[in-house]
Assembly symmetry: C2
Homo-oligomer: 360 residues x 2
DNA sequence: ATATTTTTTGCAAGCGTTTTCAAAACATTA
DNA sequence: TAATGTTTTGAAAACGCTTGCAAAAAATAT
């Protein structure tokens, strides 16, 4: 009985089966499935119905091979060991689900050389478009993507070209606000834990830190800027150097929350208290920030929103609708919590007591 | 010049191009690429070399359509809003990268009905195998997978059948240890914030809690068990009920770290201190646990390891090597941090003072 | 040198779709 | 009623790869 398909049949039901069952050609079935206009309504109904009845599910590979849409988008991330990435991915995932798209995840594990290879595979592969979160080496392959007219959107990195669709946060403004806040609290010696210099977000934050000092007429001391790596370990190391300075800072601005965690570690190791002895500010507002003790004052990035926005942009690009602006900038804002207060010595200069605690 | 391929050519280089360039048939190229044994060494060399030179990258869709391996595995997760999932995924990702596989991520967003649909799409799709993290409704489709001989491994759920390859942690033992620890500290009234009862991990933890009480001859009080949902909010609500009890507990064991966070919230809302007024234990040891204040004593699950192990199992399954055991159990262990101490009233029974603080 | 076996290779079919092109069916007009 | 125009449908060619089968080439045995 062809109308009684064996439910235990191992083979999948194809467009052919649906065609046979509904008495039309497979081309017609394909057209119905793709919403082609010129199909008789009654035919459409019948096909749709048998497809449903047979439990037909499109074979994406075949579809995409034949030139159709796969409804899969690729996501290239440096790594998963990071709450920050996780948040962005959540936003992407949410928006994708709403649009009925699936997600293919590529992790480069921070291996720079892997990026171009991945991108190549991705592009000649199944995905309809590509999302890149903080790419390490975009210039190496974005030009190619563009030439192929392959849809892509870059998240949280900019400045390497001026044609790539990009979603970023106001890194500069956020860092400026944070620094200004510390200054307004009375801090004059503010340490800065920098991020990976290849990333525009890192350099922007550093620039804003300097700009804020400048605006408030505080002279810049290069010793107060130490390199971190956007990870806890780097923050810890950088903070140790800062706290060992002859005149240590009364506040430390870490380039992201992970580094701030490292700063907390170092501060505690020196037997100091936050915020009493030293204030700390982070950047990102990941889940951990609110849970830390004391809760971390930090610059909130709308991470999920960035993911969502980028996804919407990409989906439009795939539909052939280029976005009005190539670059979308989302606002950050300073979240005040318990990790900051006015410096212990209300009068500014005498950090003498503090520096006595310095570790050898 | 056929030997000078245009680098700007939009079309991808195919197996045909490689064949033409190296003067063999496309089948031979395919064989070389798939490591087929009976190819003359010199031929193999030549093909490999031209493939490299031309920058050939296999088209996964075509390969998988034709019946080959896609080197992609699918991962079905309930959601991304959870540090716990993230950890497992990291383990998976790591192991997959090592084996040169890619990852396709499917999120059900905790929508039970979506699971079967997804599984169907996945199976007739591109992936070579499927990993399922805490599936909500496995019975609905695992039988089908098995019948099709489709490789899959279940992570952190068990008990719904006895043939599915599974990786779990010692949930029972972990919860038993945690409860015993609290009892040894002197606690007699121990609250329990339960997890989602559909998950075996949740019921096992509850059972172990009861077993530990029983072993130590502490009578079970149903009022001390409140339902949570494995999320912060549920933990908060459950803890509020517990703290409002006529004789509130002196310790609360939360079914996972997220719930424990909610417990912290409730405790603070009641103006109580951890661990001075009340001890708290969690489960999972996610990244947050160490950062919370006070640092959370919790049962560590080897999450990344679970991901890695499951992935290795799956990869073997795909290769046609069934694992020696269908079910792999990884050990948990209790991580002692600052959220527990002996109950304030060293003598056990008089919890009078505590209950006075009770909120109206 | 010839027959036989074994190793290598090529051809063709097929995987499940989309899409172009042309034919069939239907509706409309003269 | 014939001619013309439209809407619907079907057949066939791709898409890029794997694989069974058979032929060619090389190696071995007689």
């Amino acid at each position: 009985m062809s109308s009684q398909p064996d439910p235990n049949d191992i083979r999948n039901v194809t467009i052919m089966d649906v065609a046979r069952e509904s008495g039309v050609s497979y081309s017609t079935v394909s057209r119905v499935l793709n919403g082609y206009e010129f199909v008789k309504d009654s035919t459409r109904q019948r096909v749709l119905e048998t497809a449903e009845r047979l439990g037909y599910v499109a074979n994406l590979q075949a579809r995409s091979l034949a030139g159709g849409r796969s409804r899969i988008i690729g996501l290239l991330v440096p790594g998963l060991d990071n709450a920050y990435i996780g948040e962005v991915v959540r936003g992407i995932d949410e928006e994708l689900a709403r649009a009925n798209y699936d997600l293919m995840l590529y992790t480069t594990h921070r291996h720079r050389g892997k990026e171009p290879v991945y991108v190549k595979t991705i592009v000649n592969g199944i995905v309809d478009g590509l999302l890149l979160i903080v790419p390490l080496d975009p210039v190496a392959y974005l030009k190619n993507l563009r030439e192929r007219q392959f849809p892509y959107v870059v998240i949280d990195h900019q400045g390497f070209d001026d044609f790539s669709p990009t979603v970023v946060a106001t890194n500069w403004q956020g860092a400026y606000d944070a620094t200004s806040y510390l200054i307004q609290l009375g801090h004059r010696r503010i340490g800065f834990v920098a991020g990976t210099p290849e990333l525009s977000s890192a350099t922007e934050r550093l620039n804003a830190y300097q700009a804020a000092l400048y605006t408030h007429e505080i002279s810049f001391d290069a010793a107060l800027v130490q390199n971190g790596d956007f990870q806890q370990e780097g923050g810890y190391l950088a903070a140790k150097i800062l706290l060992n300075l002859d005149v240590p800072p009364t506040a430390i601005f870490a380039s992201n929350d992970s580094s701030a965690l490292g700063v907390y570690d170092a501060v505690h190791e020196f037997g100091l208290r936050i915020p009493h002895d030293i204030s700390v500010v982070g950047f990102d507002d990941t889940l951990q920030a609110a849970v830390m003790y004391p809760p971390l004052t930090t610059v909130r990035q709308p991470l999920m929103d960035m993911g969502r926005t980028a996804t919407r942009m990409l989906l439009n690009l795939i539909k052939g609708q280029p976005p009005p602006n190539h670059r979308i900038v989302l606002p950050t804002n300073l979240v005040l919590r318990g990790s900051c207060q006015a410096p212990a010595t209300t009068s500014v200069q005498s950090t003498a007591q503090l520096s006595e605690r310095r570790m050898k």
